[in-house]
Structures are given as C-alpha cells and as structure tokens.
Symmetry: C2
Subunit: 95 residues, 2 copies
DNA sequence: TAGTTGTTTAGCTAATTGGCTAATTAGGTT
DNA sequence: AACCTAATTAGCCAATTAGCTAAACAACTA
C-alpha cells in the first residue's frame, strides 16, 4: 500500500503529472504536451499513479480525463509524518 | 536531490531503518538484527540513505554508528507538501 | 462500415535495483 | 606481526523499471 505510493512518487515525471493535476483535471493528451516522452510512456506513468490510487481516470467520450485524488495524497503525507513521528504542527492547539 | 529522497523512501527496508533510527542511534550490526537480509545488503541500504542525506554514519572505533538526520527528513516532508500545494495546517493562524 | 482521433496494450531493450557470497578494509587486541 | 570483529566493497544474478515503436482498442463521425 504505502510502498506503491512512495514508488509512484519516486519518479520526477510522475511528480510533475501530479503537480499539473493539482491545478486542474486534464486528459492524457493535454498532459503529454508538458513532456517530451511518448504517449505510451506517459500512459504507463498514469497507470502507476492509478495503482497507487493517487489519480483517477474517467473516460469522457473519446478522452480520458485524469483527476488528482487530493485526499489520498494528503493522507499519504500525514501517514509519512506519523511513520517518522514528525511534528504535525497540528491546529489542535485551539483554546 | 528530491528524487534521491523519494527513491530512498520507496523501499520498505529503508523506511524501517529510518523508523528504528528515529528511536535512537544504532550501529550497523544492531540494525541488522531487525532484518532477515544479510549485512552487505543492509550496508547498501545505508549508503542509499546516506546519499539522500537522510542518515549519517560515524565510525566509533570498530563500529559505525548511524544517526537519523531528522531535519532533512522533516524538510523533505514540507517540500513535498509545498510541491503539491497541500494544506500545512500551519500554526500561523494565531490571530 | 470505414475512417479518424485519443489512448492503451504488447513486446522489446538498456539501465537500475535488491538480494546473495566472497573478498577486502578498518580498527582494536594479543 | 598475527588475529579477531565490524562493516563495506566487488562481482554476480534475477527482477523491475522507464523508455521506445508498432499494434490494438474505444468512441465518435461520415
């Protein structure tokens, strides 16, 4: 579970894909314009990200719209923090 | 830079090493008791972690004491949060 | 149904990774 | 010097990975 997420994040291309999707949903073709790699190559990156549940693809007619799973990414981060017992700077200091 | 950190984190053995070192400094032999892998194998994990600057080894006589670079790990986490524009839940909300 | 567009799957290759055993280095002891 | 212990480096292997081209699939259009 966790390993899939870390592996997914370990590639620069995939991290940039996530960043792009942070801004807005995009279809595969749009995303590919930001990279030099071929579409098949990017397609495989998409599937890695999907297996880690970090993104989700929805076919809309001819296109497949990819969407970032923000909450999954967020929770992965918090899990990381917990795993290493790092300070959350949590906002539970009200009162 | 970032990629090295992510790659280092992408292996379960290495993550467990970091967790162990979160508790206290340990030498290579001590660490190896927590794993089934051979010492050479673990040694290479150490060097991966060192190249990512996540841990640091200091020879003390016959032993090499490994220490976690907490701040590097922490900063890597924050960089990650920034990269994906996630909420920091920062405690900068005081009035 | 035949064609077109968007995307993925199949199949290949080169590079990287994680594991092993055997050999080497570093330091301390006798 | 000879020896012992702790750890790393060297060298090998099997599995994984990221890239490519070519082929296939899915959905729409004429």
């Amino acid at each position: 579970m966790a390993t899939k997420v870390y592996k997914a994040l370990s590639d620069p291309t995939r991290r940039k894909i996530l960043q792009l999707l942070r801004e807005r949903d995009m279809n595969a073709g749009e995303i590919s314009e930001y990279f030099d790699s071929t579409k098949p190559t990017l397609s495989r990156h998409f599937s890695v990200l999907q297996e880690a549940d970090l993104i989700q693809g929805n076919r809309q007619g001819n296109f497949i719209i990819y969407r970032l799973n923000v909450t999954v990414l967020e929770e992965a981060m918090w899990a990381m923090m917990d795993m290493f017992k790092l300070e959350h700077r949590g906002n539970d200091d009200e009162k």
